[in-house]
Amino acid sequence: MGFEVLLKGNNMIRLLGGLAVALKISLISVCISLIMGTVFGSLMNDRHPLIKKILRAYLEIVRIMPQLVLLFIAYFGTTKALGVNISAEAASIIVFSFWGSAEMADLVRGALSGIPPAQYESSLALGLTYHQTLVYIIIPQIIRRMLPLSINLITRMIKTTSLIMMIGIVEVLKVGQQIIEANRKNYPNAAFGIYFTVFVLYFAVCWPISMLSRYLERKWEA
């Protein structure tokens, strides 16, 4: 069925190396997204109409533009338009962070507006200062609402990074393709074994994270 090819040479190691490339890019992008998204999300409740409008437009762009289109624009477009040559890795981190920050911003905005104002009031009425109210009452509640969703964002980020092969980054799918090409003669059925393995690898990475997210969601369900 084409699984034998994985045992040949260091093929399996190469495949895992490809996965590591994808995971590294997702991890960096997630970190940037968490930070930028929190900033943007807090700003979305800002009174300033211009800031609000800009952020809305940003979110709408991300909502309707496929990540692959953004990836193409960042990778091929900027070279042409700005004359700067950015690497495929840099382009993908920029695009995934751009996308992830928007998703995160929406989550933060939702979590912030989901806290009833009376929670602030009852805390203030107890004599806690505004600062203490944020630290002990509001932020812990926001984190409980946000954490499961943010963890979900990580799996979505990992799944999305499979696109980077389309701009020539050698990640797990590309490595798989190369192995299949190289063994076309001796292992004609390699495509099944390799792509099945890639499929399983992605599942093995994403599923536990999804489970963790669901577990936390249930645990903190208020």
Binding site: Q119, E121, A125, L126, Y136, Q141, A222
Partner: protein, 241 residues
């Protein structure tokens, strides 16, 4: 507690109109009035959750300034219980109770917990100390909320329609706690629709309509011999004939 000619407007809508009210130490004042008359706003103004447009609220002869950096120091002395309980959902009952004493009053955690357990026992909820708010009934939550306010040992307690969100059979368990506090000599301002309870708990009744005090007096006089037409009409609306 001295409320002196306070006014509050939302845009053009006058909610409180030059309202004055004195509350002596140990006195239980029960405020009644039609919905939208400004009684809840009054409580919120006392605690500076709303900023008053005019007038002054003073506690122990000192005016409460909503812009004061030390506002939380004043609020320590004013306990407030909300209609919707507002327990903190991410903390257990015991944690809800000791949070403010430990963080605000810098009370020793052990001592605070001891006090909390003592009060919980008094309201019959000792067994719930490690539960989360979502595991409690409305009446239980409200009793915890009252205890949470008591934990700060406030000079005055404000209660804003604390039984309005409860099922009838739970109203009683909450009101009994409040009656108990009244007997103990706590100073309280209570906003409620429970006239029977008001009669039992109040030292003084106050009727507010249109942001002003229309009538006030001893409970007996207030209910049996209302002087103003508006109060007569209001009391009448509670009887079915």
């Amino acid at each position: 507690m001295n409320i002196n000619g306070i006014s509050k407007k939302y845009g053009d809508l006058v909610v409180l109109d030059n309202l004055s009210l004195k509350v002596k130490s140990g006195e239980v004042v029960v405020i009644v009035g039609p919905s939208g008359c400004g009684k809840s706003t009054l409580l919120r103004c006392i605690n500076a959750l709303e900023i008053i447009d005019d007038g002054e609220v003073a506690l122990d002869g000192k005016a409460i300034n909503p812009h004061d950096k030390k506002l939380s120091k004043v609020r320590e002395k004013i306990g407030m219980v909300f209609q919707s309980y507002e327990l903190f959902p991410h903390k257990t009952i015991l944690q809800n109770l000791v949070l403010a004493p430990v963080r605000v009053k810098k009370m020793n955690r052990k001592e605070a917990e001891k006090e909390a357990l003592h009060l919980l026992e008094r309201v019959g909820l000792l067994s719930k100390k490690d539960n989360y708010p979502r595991q409690l009934s409305g009446g239980q939550k409200q009793r915890v909320a009252i205890v949470r306010a008591l934990m700060m040992n406030p000079e005055i307690l404000l209660m804003d329609e604390i039984t309005a969100a409860l099922d009838p059979e739970m109203v009683r368990e909450v009101l009994e706690v409040v009656l108990d506090l009244a007997k103990e000599g706590r100073t309280m301002i209570i906003v409620t629709h429970e006239l029977q309870f008001a009669k039992a708990a109040a030292d003084r009744m106050v009727f507010i309509d249109g942001g002003r005090i229309i009538e006030e007096g001893e409970p007996k006089e207030f209910f049996e011999n209302p002087k103003t037409e508006r109060l007569k009409k209001f009391l009448h609306s509670f009887t079915y004939e």
